[in-house]
């Protein structure tokens, strides 16, 4: 077990280095650089200032030196300073991560709470009207662009508050942690979490349903029935526990994607999360920031996958990693 975790962590290194190389090359391929954007396009006329800026940010170093600097600094947990704002990358990300993380976590909770009961019922009542409704809800969730759902829900909130109080109300956009002002915090993150969570639950619901259908046809379910167990116990203890295996994988992978995939949602709700930061840093050609964010997203992905695999072994004793 211990060996397995260590092996997996070691295997993550080539992935991380590969991702680092990919983002490094991609960023260098974009024409222009941060100095050109920072000093304005007109500063072509001021080569001295441009030169000084490039020199200060290390953009004049050979590419291989820049890449090794980038990799080397990560081994000492020094993530550098943003080329755009001049503030430490860790601080910039630290102030924005909580919003994205909270939305991602809440969306996951919402998705699980909706998807697992509905997916299970849908499978147990296969081909009844209930099953058809659940399947339609799920497939609609996959088909609906979450950013459009976000726009629609914002409009709905605006209209309802306008009709009810005569004054349109918009969720605030400046993030406050939950423990400081729970009400304000929830009014910011609830709508985005629901719009993202719906899509997420749709995917999970379909997976739960198909896994349940498969498990319910297994021999051990027939055995459980024939020894006279109550249906509820069969479902909860025998079927669900086995059916949840692929579902757990899916939830993990979707969560990992969410961390970097909130870009559009944050745009719709005007939230200052890491998705927004990502777009801004690419557009500002802030290489240091973009690299740091990419490494963060990739690291979360790799770690989540590891946790999922370990959970797998815990849920299914037949699986033993060595």
């Amino acid at each position: 077990m211990y060996r397995y975790v260590v092996t997996r962590l070691l295997l993550a290194i080539p992935t991380l280095v590969g991702a680092a190389a990919l983002v490094f090359v991609l960023m260098r391929l974009i024409p222009g650089d941060v100095c050109l954007i920072r000093l304005g396009m007109g500063s072509h006329g001021n080569p001295a200032a441009m030169e000084a800026c490039r020199q200060a940010l290390g953009l004049n170093n050979p590419l291989i030196v820049q890449f090794l600097d980038f990799l080397g600094s990560y081994f000492t947990f020094d993530f550098g300073t943003s080329m755009w704002s001049g503030r430490p990358v860790a601080v910039e990300i630290g102030t924005r991560l909580p919003v994205s993380l909270q939305i991602a976590l809440m969306a996951t909770v919402i998705a699980v709470l909706i998807a697992i009961p509905l997916g299970t019922i849908s499978a147990l009542k296969e081909n009844t009207w209930l099953d058809h409704i659940v399947r339609m809800v799920a497939i609609a969730g996959i088909a609906t662009p979450s950013f459009w759902l976000g726009i629609m829900s914002l409009v709905l909130v605006l209209d309802i508050t306008y009709l009810a109080t005569g004054k349109a109300w918009m969720p605030p956009i400046d993030y406050v942690p939950f423990w400081q002002d729970p009400l304000r915090n929830l009014s910011i993150v609830l709508l985005p979490a629901i719009t993202v969570g719906y899509r997420y639950s749709a995917v999970t619901m379909r997976m739960t349903r198909s896994a349940m259908l498969e498990v319910m046809r297994e021999d051990y379910i027939r055995t459980a029935r024939s020894k006279g167990l109550v249906e509820q116990i069969i479902v909860n203890r025998h079927a669900l526990k086995n059916a949840l295996l692929p579902v757990v994988t899916l939830i993990g992978i979707e969560f990992a994607f969410l961390i970097g995939g909130l870009v559009v949602t944050e745009q719709v709700f005007n939230l200052n999360g890491i998705g927004r930061l990502f777009v801004q840093s690419v557009q500002n050609q802030d290489n240091v920031m973009t690299q740091a964010l990419t490494m963060l997203v990739v690291a979360v992905f790799v770690l989540t996958n590891l946790v999922v695999d370990l959970l797998y072994a815990w849920l299914d004793p037949r699986i033993r990693y060595s």
């Binding site: 996959i142 662009p145 726009i151 995939g261 990739v298």
Partner: protein, 302 residues
């Protein structure tokens, strides 16, 4: 005591049905009967295709023409779905937008799918260090979220329909490669592949003629999901201003400009493009589900 002779006449239709080869029409009718939802999905997709293909003849107005005398008009008899904040006919823009959505959706799905298919099968067939390196490359590409990879590609190559297709294709490759590799690993062990190798067929021939056809079922299922994902990705990119650019009509783009701003006074600007995206992806998903059931009987009713 009389012996009842089986009635040949009564059995005839069954024999006939068994003997007759199933014509494409029969297959189609069978599909329609067994998969009403899938047929519904197919109808939506076909309608969208026709709308896109025949856009210049269907659209009552020029999608890029501004009519400043008719800005933000509610749906009426002249402008069936109303006009946007620049006085452009929303129905006409939707019809032309179908073109953009379907071109981007299908091209990136097919491109990403086929590259992933060949690479996945090759990886499983050759195994060894090739497979190991391939796996690590897929890991890296998988960990890169779709939208962020697209963001970088668009930043490098610029915006426009063709670049959007590239941007959406790249992240689809590893997703397809993974699934195909898993199926291909099982196929590699079957005797006919060994036989083909023993006969001295070239690697290319074995991969393309013997292995690829046998992983085509999971591949087709994946492909239908990819088309939907690609259309959604195009809409998101265009909405972020990183995809198709004005004045080309694209559904995501239509939601970008005034959609939020005028959402209370002119909700039709935001509602209809979203409905168009949803219907199209819904149609493709329904058809894809039905296709999966029809192709692979083992997966039926899932």
């Amino acid at each position: 005591m009389t012996i009842t002779v089986p009635n040949r006449a009564a059995a005839a239709p069954i024999d006939e049905a068994l003997d007759r080869k199933r014509s494409p029409l029969d297959v189609a009718l069978h599909f329609v009967k067994r998969q009403p939802l899938g047929t519904f999905g197919l109808v939506i997709v076909v309608v969208m295709f026709l709308a896109g293909a025949l856009a210049p003849w269907i659209a009552p107005f020029d999608p890029e023409e501004n009519d400043f005398n008719a800005m933000m008009e509610a749906p009426n008899l002249i402008h069936w779905l109303g006009t946007d904040q620049l006085g452009r006919d929303i129905f006409s823009r939707l019809v032309f937008g179908a073109r953009t959505a379907l071109i981007v959706g299908f091209s990136s799905a097919v491109l990403g799918g086929v590259i992933g298919l060949v690479m996945g099968v090759a990886s499983a067939y050759f195994g060894g260090w090739f497979d190991l390196i391939f796996q690590r490359v897929l890991d890296v590409l998988m960990a890169f979220p779709l939208i962020i990879l697209a963001l970088a590609v668009v930043a490098v190559f610029g915006t426009g329909v063709f670049n959007v297709i590239i941007a959406i294709t790249i992240p689809l490759v590893p997703r397809c490669g993974r699934v195909v590799r898993a199926s291909a690993l099982a196929v590699r062990e079957v005797p006919y592949v060994d036989a083909a190798r023993a006969l001295g067929f070239s690697h290319t021939r074995i991969v393309l003629r013997h292995m690829v056809p046998n992983v085509i079922a999971p591949f087709l299922i994946l492909l239908s999901a990819f088309v939907g994902q690609a259309i959604l990705a195009e809409a998101s990119l265009s909405y972020l201003g990183l995809g198709v650019q004005e004045p080309v009509p694209a559904w995501g783009l239509m939601l970008q400009g005034g959609a939020e701003e005028y959402a209370t006074t002119a909700p039709w600007i935001a509602v209809f493009p979203g409905v168009a995206i949803m219907l199209t992806v819904l149609g493709i998903s329904l058809f894809g589900d039905a296709l999966r059931d029809a192709i692979d009987p083992k997966l039926r009713d899932r």
